[in-house]
Amino acid sequence: MPNMTFAQAIKDAHVVEMERDPNIYVAGEDVGVFGGCFGVTAGLLEQFGEKRVKDTPITESAIVGTAVGAATVGLRPVIELMFVDFIGVALDQLYNQAGKMKYMFGGKAKIPMVMRASCGAGIGAAAQHSQCLEALFMHLPGLKVVMPSTPYDAKGLLIEAIRDDNPVVFLEHKMLYALEGEVPEGEYTISFGQADIKREGQDVTVVATANMVHTALSAAEKLAADGISVEVVDPRTLNPLDDESIIESVKKTHRLVIVHEEVKFAGSGAEIAALVAEKAFDYLDAPILRVAAPFCPVPFSQPLEQAYIPSEQQLIDAVKKVMA
């Protein structure tokens, strides 16, 4: 199995799908010659031409909105929002139009589109180019929300997203783009709503998303040395959310810590904590803890930015607390 970076795996998913289905087009700012701000779409223009790989003006509402319109009448757009923070100028087209159309029209529409977006802190890009916003999208009926953590998952989930007949938000943490891993050649899909147990354990369940999966795996390794066995559950898709796998894990370990990079207040972890409290309260031997960013914009200065991002040590401390 070849090794690929996370970015290459995402590009590979595009290639596999665009070769299969001529009605898939890619559009976004600088996705053509420039290859995308993080190089994800590099080479697609050469391979598929201008008709299918469209550089757009800086016009997020129109990038999203034309995708919604085109998807409604038969195409399968895969669009790139350079930074997820930019959804602020295009949100209406995504949540009021794409997300609600099927329901508003009594079921008689399908909107097969994927909106990819980079997200997350770590490169000093500051407040308007660094946020994680998965909870925002989770809150909007009609959308699906995907957040991969490995190259393997990224490719399989993106192919699944492109084949899905609903609008899918595909969130790519920018600190993962250079991460390498084994990725099968050709096509394969990963079903939505299927969490992946990234590490099996007995004592504590840690639900982690995107780059925090790697923080959790590293923390788990260190905690193992202290005799604490951590199970790392990666939901992979936040909507649909694999309730069952999370609950099954908690029933086994009786302890839950949730770690994500977006802010803790009303973040995706709040939903997961509520889910477990509602469905598995009696199995819990300790209160649920969340490790997440503080409630402030992402800062620029390196020491501040590093303090913003949930750390391995914070996670270790939380795990030890629920074990105490």
Partner: protein, 319 residues
């Protein structure tokens, strides 16, 4: 363009159909049969009618919150529309959409839209699909003077021009976005003046003259079909009723309304057709009575239809 007598009479009939539908909806709303918001198209019938006379089922339209006229002109079924306005299961959207969200994708109607300026990007997207698939279909975007000031409208027009998309932007300038008059909301006299900024044709037309609308739209639509890109056609018109039913219209004076009623598109065409002897009084009566019968049938269908079952509440969110 040379319109046949048959085409002109068909347009007249469509306008009267919209008018009778809207007037009845006003009564039904006042009687409490129709809940929510309804925004009526009375006075603006020539715009939707003149434009849609150039379209087939393979062409697309995006509509607005004031969408009933567009839907009827594009061939929408008034039975299904009325049932939807009543919130009934048999309506276009199974009662889930209501007045502002009626769609019929089989007829190319991509939906009324509750968001002012929501439609233009969707229309450009449909046009992109037409261009991409290489068919000769076009998209038409109906939008109001209010929407003309939304960023989405600018983005949709700019991108459509950059990509030479087969889309025609039909601005229905009825002078008011709820209470705000274009005198205060725009700094150019015409929405069409903005076409210069996109290097596309910008045309102003009397929106209460259905033949003039039809001819101007034909030019834009043919241009789009020929791959020459978008155009912007501004139809100057007026809504006789308030922004929504129940609006006391304190922001405009009666004299203005009366002035525009003088220019009502339906009596204007009717007079012309009588003079040209294309219609007679008895033929007009026959048209109106047939439409009334259809409308009564639609109303009865809506009245007698069941409401959706509560078990359907969370259906249709995802495919």
């Amino acid at each position: 363009m040379d319109l046949t007598n048959e085409q002109i009479i068909k347009m007249y009939t469509t306008m009267v159909k919209i008018r009778t539908f809207e007037n009845r909806v006003a009564e039904l709303f006042a009687d409490g049969k129709i809940p929510g918001f309804v925004h009526l198209y009375v006075g603006e019938e020539a715009v939707a009618t003149g434009v849609c006379a150039n379209l087939t089922d393979k062409d697309y339209i995006t509509s607005t919150h004031r969408g009933h006229g567009h839907l009827i002109a594009k061939g929408g079924d008034i039975k299904l529309m009325m049932a939807e306005l009543f919130g009934k299961k048999t309506g276009y959207c199974k009662g889930k959409g209501g007045s502002m969200h009626i769609a019929d994708l089989d007829l190319g109607i991509m939906g009324a839209n509750g968001i002012v300026g929501g439609g233009p990007p969707l229309a450009s997207g449909a046009a992109l699909a037409c261009q991409y698939l290489g068919n000769d279909s076009v998209a038409v975007c109906f939008f109001g003077d209010g929407a003309s000031n939304q960023g989405t409208t600018h983005e949709a027009m700019n991108l459509a021009s950059c990509w030479k998309l087969p889309v025609v932007f039909i601005n229905e300038n009825n002078m008011y976005g709820i209470s705000s008059c274009t005198r205060d909301s725009m700094c150019v006299p015409n929405v069409a003046d903005r076409a210069v900024g996109y290097d596309i044709p910008g045309v102003v037309v009397d929106g209460n003259d259905v033949v003039a609308v039809c001819e101007a739209a034909a030019e834009g639509i043919n241009r789009a079909r020929q791959g020459k890109g978008p155009s912007l056609i501004e139809c100057k018109t007026y809504r006789h009723r308030g922004h929504f039913e129940g609006d006391p219209c304190a922001y405009r004076d009666d004299a203005e309304l009366e002035e525009w009623k003088e220019k009502d598109p339906i009596p204007r065409l009717e007079q012309k057709l009588l003079e040209m002897e294309l219609l007679t009084d008895s033929k007009i009566e026959e048209i109106k009575s047939t439409l009334q019968k259809g409308l009564a049938g639609a109303e009865q269908f809506a009245e007698e239809s069941p409401f959706p079952n509560v078990s359907e509440l969370t259906e249709d969110v995802y495919t």
